[in-house]
């Protein structure tokens, strides 16, 4: 029997339309718009100004604060402006816009395809390099990778878990990356193990990617301490708490970090980015993006530079079909519909999903029939129907007491609800409000 997490979970139609499509390198755009806040935490501070010449890999945004990440130019050219540009959610965010000229790379970046297996840097240098190269978690949450590699004092890392689950329907970017860059990923895992000084790593892959499991197992067998675990296909297994539960049978206590179970989790894409950063000195400025959808003529996996307009990716995959209802950044479960496709690909953009009009429409919400399906599928053991109610009524103390902050926003409850209740929308709202109260409480002077 395959391993999986113990509580809840759903299994939506997989729809991996772009599976086994080779990663194509996307044509360079004429202009890129690179937002300075592409990660969780403080946005980077621009270190270039209008008119500056930049190369591929030039630092353009310096991390500000502990939880922040460096931003590098993904193209060579001239900085056209540093201004507020509309992002995928429609909000205007500080962005560096660069006019592309040629494709000249910063010296020191190893562009060769040769595999470098020997890890020469010591743990401190690895973390420093990961930090300098602006590597963030590429699974979607974009948490700066170097912060995860520095466990808080008092906690001890025992095992590195590589999240290669890709439980979101439609998305295949991680899958394809594993098939094409398996050696590099395994070395990336070795680097991560060295950085946090552990001798055990587990790569968790869902069983719908059997080719990747076989390939990675055969490569991992050459190295000691790396284990590939096949997992039962179940959403949201890619949530870090769910993955720890699935592979280690340990539960992260409410409010605690995953490190409390001794696990350090990195996405498989991040492991590859770490390989490139440490062995090739290449900053994170490009990533694999799945462009997919049932009506799309050519669902594909693209290697796109950060800052490329999303429109260009869709056009490369066959253009926006006529009956498009929503264009989603990310997967269908946790992704967000974009009001603006002129915005740019960012580090956290794992996929672009084109949904037909009829499949994208929400059905009319009716009254809760108390069927408790949301309770049974919640992977965190919460009561979504109740949490929605208290969030709607602004009963924040009750929401906090019922662990609203544990919600991982996977959307399983909204997916399963037969009354089409907007469960996650309200829970997310309540979570935001409770979070603000918790932060205020933490900073308030103690009397």
């Amino acid at each position: 029997m395959l391993k999986t997490f113990r509580l809840g979970g759903i299994h939506p139609a997989e729809n991996k339309l772009s599976a086994n499509k080779k990663i194509e390198t996307l044509e360079l755009p004429k202009q890129v718009a690179i937002p300075l806040g592409q990660h969780i935490g403080a946005p980077a501070q621009a270190v270039v100004k209008k008119g500056d010449a930049v190369k591929v890999g030039t630092l353009i945004g310096q991390a500000s604060g502990f939880i922040s990440a460096n931003i590098h130019s993904s193209v060579s050219g001239i900085v056209a402006k540093i201004d507020e540009v509309t992002d995928a959610s429609g909000n205007r965010r500080p962005t560096v816009v660069i006019d592309v000229q040629g494709d000249e790379w910063e010296e020191g970046i190893d562009r060769s395809e040769t595999l470098i297996t020997e890890i020469t840097l010591d743990p401190k240098e690895i973390v420093e390099r990961v930090k300098n190269c602006g590597v963030v978690g590429l699974g979607g949450a974009t948490f700066p990778a170097h912060v995860k590699l520095m466990p808080p004092p008092g906690s001890k890392a025992e095992v590195v878990i590589i999240n290669a689950v890709e439980c979101e329907p439609y998305l295949t970017s991680d899958h394809q990356l594993m098939l094409e860059k398996a050696e590099e990923i395994v070395i990336g895992v070795q680097i991560l193990m060295k950085a946090v000084q552990v001798n055990r790593a587990i790569i968790g892959i869902e069983n719908n990617k059997k080719d990747a499991i076989t390939l990675l197992s055969s490569i991992a067998a050459k190295y000691s301490g790396i284990e590939v675990v096949a997992l039962k296909v179940q959403y949201p297994q890619g949530g870090e708490k769910q993955l720890i539960d699935a592979v280690l049978k340990r539960q992260v206590p409410s409010g605690a970090l995953p490190i409390s179970t001794g696990a350090i989790i990195q996405n498989v894409g991040s492991a590859f980015a770490v390989y490139e950063a440490v062995q090739k000195n290449k900053p994170l400025f490009e990533r694999v993006v799945t462009v997919t959808g049932k009506s799309l003529s050519n669902p594909s996996n693209f290697l796109a530079r950060v800052g490329t307009p999303i429109k260009q990716l869709i056009e490369a995959a066959g253009g926006v079909p006529e009956d498009t209802g929503k264009i989603v950044s990310g997967g269908p479960m946790m992704g967000k519909a974009m009001p603006n496709i002129d915005s740019a690909v960012v580090k956290g953009c794992s996929g672009i999903l084109i949904m037909k009009d009829f499949e994208s429409r929400r059905k009319e919400m009716t009254d809760c029939i108390r069927c408790a399906k949301c309770v049974s599928v919640c992977p965190m053991g919460l009561t979504p129907s109740y949490l929605m109610r208290v969030s709607e009524l602004n009963m924040l103390e009750e929401a906090e007491a019922d662990r609203i902050m544990d919600c991982i926003e996977c959307g399983s409850c909204s997916y399963i609800c037969p009354a089409n209740r907007t469960l996650l929308d309200y829970i997310r709202l309540g979570k935001g409000k409770v979070g603000a109260i918790l932060r205020a409480r933490a900073t308030a002077p103690k009397n």
Binding site: S89, G90, N91, R92, A337, P339, R361, R362
Partner: protein, 284 residues
């Protein structure tokens, strides 16, 4: 007969003992409450809206009695009449507070602010605001899902289906401020009610640069500073591409209204301007 008598006597004795105990307990645990609290509470409107900043009318009455002066205490619903009565009860002088009213600082109507996307999530401005910037090109404007109308205890805000914007009923609005906190875009402001209900304000909150704001909404303030230059009383400030009229300094001269190239400055309840030869010139 005997049975009834026994029952009566027993119950009577228990009752008497209970009464005695309760009497002494009441003496022992007596809490003195200033009788003025009840008096003040009586003159308050009992709307329990929280507009004063205290938990309900009783809380406000308690605060009034305990406070040294009437500074900073104001019941927006009762207004100066109510505050004067409270001052009389407490033997103090009421601090004159200008009556206020809620105004909506967005005039991006459906016609003037074209939609660029369509939202089909939960019908709540707060939820929509936590998800994306809004259905139009303006990320500062009204989302039009009536959170302000829902929270109003006085039935004073209603959505106008034609403009897609809420409208404030100036007869009913008590300036309690519930809508101000409900709006996730901070579009509602409490401003001085003004003489004869006359008010002038910039009905826009867009901090976008002029060209961007104008592209998204033809009624947007573009921060051109024309009103700032026109104002003889230094009541207007322009910051972050947005003009703001200070209602404490504004003397309602209306000079800023015609110079605004986007009609973002609103005048309410003024008599129509007399046709002057220079009026069309100013518009052009």
């Amino acid at each position: 007969m005997n049975l009834i008598l026994i029952a009566l006597i027993t119950l009577g004795v228990i009752g008497a003992i209970g009464a005695v105990i309760l009497f002494f307990v009441a003496q022992k645990f007596y809490v003195y409450e200033d009788p003025r609290i009840a008096q003040v509470d009586e003159v308050l409107p009992q709307a329990n809206c929280g507009g004063c900043g205290f938990p309900g009318c009783k809380g406000f009455a308690d605060a009034c009695v305990k406070a040294e002066t009437m500074d900073g205490l104001n019941c927006p619903v009762g207004g100066s009449d109510c505050m004067n009565q409270i001052a009389t009860i407490l033997g103090r002088t009421a601090v004159a507070a200008d009556p206020k009213i809620a105004v909506l600082r967005c005039n991006g109507t459906c016609a003037d602010r074209p939609k660029t996307s369509q939202y089909d999530g939960a019908k709540s401005c707060a939820v929509a605001a936590s998800t994306f910037a809004g259905e139009t090109g303006c990320s500062y404007g009204c989302l039009g899902m009536a959170d302000c109308c829902v929270v109003c205890d006085f039935d004073a805000i209603h959505m106008n289906p034609e403009t897609g914007l809420p409208e404030i009923d100036q007869e009913k609005c008590t300036a309690c401020g519930a809508c101000v906190t409900a709006c996730p875009k901070f579009l509602i402001q409490l401003r001085k009610k003004g003489k004869a209900n006359r008010r002038i304000f910039v009905s826009c909150m867009s901090k976008d640069k002029g060209a961007v704001a104008k592209k998204a909404c033809s009624n947007a303030c573009i921060g051109c500073s024309k009103c700032f230059k026109e104002c003889p009383f230094e009541a207007i400030t322009v910051a972050n591409n947005l003009a703001y009229i200070d209602d404490n300094k504004c003397r309602l001269c209306r000079k800023c209204v015609p110079v605004c190239p986007t009609n973002a400055i609103w005048e309410l309840n003024f008599p129509p301007k007399k046709e002057k030869p220079e009026a069309p010139k100013a518009e052009a």
